[in-house]
């Protein structure tokens, strides 16, 4: 198993948000995490990626055979965990090109490789930009500065393509996207799917899952996964809402 989360409890400022969550993800799989607002979806993403302030009070996160609970965020990233942010951050004055090159070289250094050659890097940028229809200009601009909502999300998928993660977490990548941008993003993700990597797609809505078809759907409620199923579960949720599951859970 690529990712195996066991009895995970996560607290922010002493307040427990994730309350005993279990999740197993194998290579080659796409898992969708759905659920109403405020049930802990983004907290789960933060806990897996090692964000400070998200205290793991109990449980384990096994990734590639290691419990990564104590591993710093950058090391997890360099081990191949990627987060597509719900709200990508602006870094004024730092060009996308420079940022990406710094990230790629950090990864290479971690793996004991020499820094990437300028020519190779440029070719790689060209190739990956096509994947998500990113314009030339975008990579010369500062990281996310003045990007539209759609451009920011495309830029996240572009970075994912550059860093070739083993485990990619997409946190509400569909939020704020029009249908055209959503299609571009989904196409990018689908082209990156292989038998060697896995995706965890966090979303409110079924519409993204029509484009990125999941193998498993999980419903997160009150800090726990309360129901899991195949892709049909997403359709059922779309039709009936979350209320019936909540009821089922409470009973």
């Amino acid at each position: 198993m690529l990712l195996n989360i066991k009895n995970l409890h996560v607290a922010i400022n002493g307040k427990e948000i994730i309350k005993g969550l279990n999740l197993g993800v194998n290579k080659g799989e796409v898992h969708a995490i759905m659920g109403p607002n405020g049930t802990g979806k983004s907290t789960l993403a933060a806990a897996i990626t090692g964000r400070e302030g998200y205290d793991i009070t109990q449980g384990e996160i096994w990734y590639k055979g290691k419990n990564i609970v104590e591993m710093p965020a950058e090391e997890r990233a360099n081990e191949g965990i990627f987060l597509s942010f719900q709200y990508p951050v602006e870094i004024p004055g730092v060009s996308m090109t420079n940022f990406m090159r710094t990230a790629i070289n950090a990864q290479r250094e971690y793996r004991g490789q020499a820094p990437i050659q300028a020519g190779d890097f440029l070719r790689m940028m060209e190739e990956k930009k096509k994947l998500v229809d990113i314009h030339e200009k975008l990579t010369n601009r500062s990281v996310n500065e003045g990007f539209s909502g759609g451009e920011k999300k495309k830029n996240e998928i572009f970075q994912m393509a550059m860093l070739e993660p083993t485990l990619a977490i997409l946190d509400e990548t569909d939020s704020g996207l029009d249908i055209d941008a959503l299609k571009v993003v989904a196409r990018g993700v689908n082209q990156l799917r292989t038998s060697e990597n896995a995706f965890v797609v966090i979303t409110h809505y079924q519409r993204l899952l029509e484009l990125i078809v999941p193998d498993f759907v999980h419903v997160l409620f009150d800090g726990k996964i309360i129901k899991s199923g195949g892709r049909n579960l997403a359709l059922e949720l779309e039709e009936k809402g979350y209320e019936w599951i909540k009821q089922e859970h409470l009973v």
Binding site: T49, E74, V89, I91, V94, E109, A118, Q159
Partner: protein, 483 residues
């Protein structure tokens, strides 16, 4: 892309220690500590100066005795004991140097270690260097090449000997010895520095640069630089400096004067990296510097760009006096303080002529327990019709034990003038750091990246060679500042 300094720089930076803190064991000739008229006569005699120069020094010294140290800056330090300082230290040499072969190999090695090759053959093309160690210039490169264009680039001492008429005409015309306490001190005891003269209509084909190195212990460095750009000439000048790590504080009080005639343009860039003291605030250079440019001619232009990362105390206000109509003054500054460093730096833009314009972009970065102040004056005199100024002062705070301060002074005495002032204070956000971490970039590198981005507007003004160096320095200076 490998030629682009904006890329691939930060990851090259791996060590956080001050890299230039070594000391070279060379035979040094020194004055006895203390400051009297005899000291000044000793320095003047050592330099075989003409009488007018000695007179200038003595006048300055007598004036200095009447002054007291300024106390208005936002800095604190124990009193400097001016009688304990050695005012002259020079590497011993056997005879006049005529070629590189005659430069003490120890000295060559020192400058090689600093990344400054004095060998013209090995030097990257495009830069001529004057190397100053303690009180004297040891070597100026490419003098012959420059002479073909009529450009004079030599040590200040050489200029006093060989071009006395030029030195007498301009020395003290921009920064008179009566200007301030440190200017008076410098005028009395200055030892060496660079002189640069660009004749009418000449565009200097090389970047000119002076590299200052303090080596000997208990000495002060008092250099003096004079740049004269005649009508329609252009020169870009760079200055770098380092010092050994020592527990005691060392005094550095310099003067830089620039004169720009009609349509002349001078760009002056500094990367200041004197020893900043250790993590506990012990040692470091006291950097009290008076830098001023006079836009004497119509449509002349002087631009100061500074990256201040070193020194335990920085007191420095590179300024422009915009005398000629349509003249332009610019000031671009990045000042970084970490640990216990204190900086009080900024500029003065004095608008005298009509249609004069000035731009001030200041980026302060404070970390550790340091204090960083921007102090700037924009003064519009009654005759400066249609003068314009734009000032932007940004402060970035790293951590919660450092200080950032802004002291803007505006005096407008002509109603047609337009003055704009913008100021911001920000912190590096947790969100930005985590975003970088999540891409595999560790926190230290992330800070370097974010800070370099923040300072980009100013770094872009630096000549290529310096920009690379400056970016590395910014990252190194801030290493260990968070965590």
């Amino acid at each position: 892309m490998d030629n682009n300094p904006n890329n691939n720089i930060l990851e090259e930076v791996t060590t956080g220690e001050y890299k230039y803190g070594f000391y070279t064991d060379i035979e040094t000739e020194m004055a006895v500590p203390g400051l009297t008229e005899d000291t000044i006569r000793f320095i003047s005699a050592k330099k075989e100066e003409p009488d007018w120069m000695l007179e200038f020094r003595l006048k300055a010294f007598r004036h200095w005795l009447t002054l007291s140290e300024p106390e208005w800056a936002h800095i604190q330090y124990p009193p400097v004991s001016y009688q304990d300082i050695i005012y002259y230290a020079a590497p011993k040499k056997k005879k006049e140097l005529s070629s590189l072969d005659e430069v003490d190999p120890e000295l060559l090695e020192t400058f090689n270690k600093l990344g400054i090759s004095l060998d013209e053959q090995k030097r990257l093309s495009g830069v001529a260097v004057d190397a100053v160690i303690d009180s004297v210039s040891v070597k100026t490169t490419f003098q012959d090449t420059l002479a073909k264009h009529g450009i004079i680039f030599c040590s200040f001492s050489e200029a006093v000997r060989n071009h006395p008429e030029l030195v007498r005409k301009h020395m003290g015309s921009v920064v008179p010895y009566t200007d301030n306490f440190f200017a008076a001190l410098n005028s009395a005891v200055f030892s060496d520095g660079s002189f640069c003269y660009i004749p009418k209509g000449v565009r200097c084909p090389l970047e000119l640069s002076t590299y200052f190195r303090i080596n000997a212990a208990n000495t002060g460095q008092f250099e003096r630089t004079l740049i004269v750009a005649e009508e329609s000439s252009y020169v870009s000048y760079m200055e770098g400096c380092t010092a050994p790590m020592r527990d005691e504080n060392q005094l550095h009080a310099a003067i830089v004067e620039i004169v720009a005639m009609d349509h002349a343009e001078v760009k002056y860039s500094t990367v200041q990296n004197w020893y900043p003291g250790d993590k506990e605030g012990k040692g470091g250079v006291y950097n009290f510097v008076t830098k001023r440019g006079l836009c004497k001619g119509r449509s002349s232009k002087i631009a100061w760009t500074q990256v201040e990362t070193g020194s335990s105390i920085t007191w420095k206000y590179p300024s422009c006096v915009l005398l000629g109509d349509n003249s332009v003054g610019e000031f671009y500054s990045v000042a970084v303080t970490n640990n216990f460093q204190q900086a009080d730096t900024g500029t003065k833009m004095i608008h005298i002529g009509k249609n004069t314009r000035s731009t001030i972009i200041s980026k302060g970065i404070s970390a550790g327990k340091s204090n960083n102040a921007y102090r700037g004056l924009v003064k519009i005199l009654p005759g400066a019709t249609n003068a314009r100024n734009f000032s932007q002062c940004d402060s970035l705070l790293l951590g919660d034990r450092c200080g950032a301060h802004t002291f803007p002074y505006i005096e407008a005495r002509n109603e047609s003038s337009i003055i704009e002032h913008e100021a911001t204070t920000s912190k590096i956000s947790e969100d930005q750091l985590f975003y970088c971490n999540q891409r595999g970039i560790d926190t230290e590198k992330a800070i370097g990246l974010i800070v370099n981005g923040y300072a980009r507007e100013v770094l872009n003004k630096l000549p290529m060679e310096f920009a690379v160096e400056a970016q590395k320095l910014l990252s190194i200076t801030l290493e260990g500042s968070v965590g």
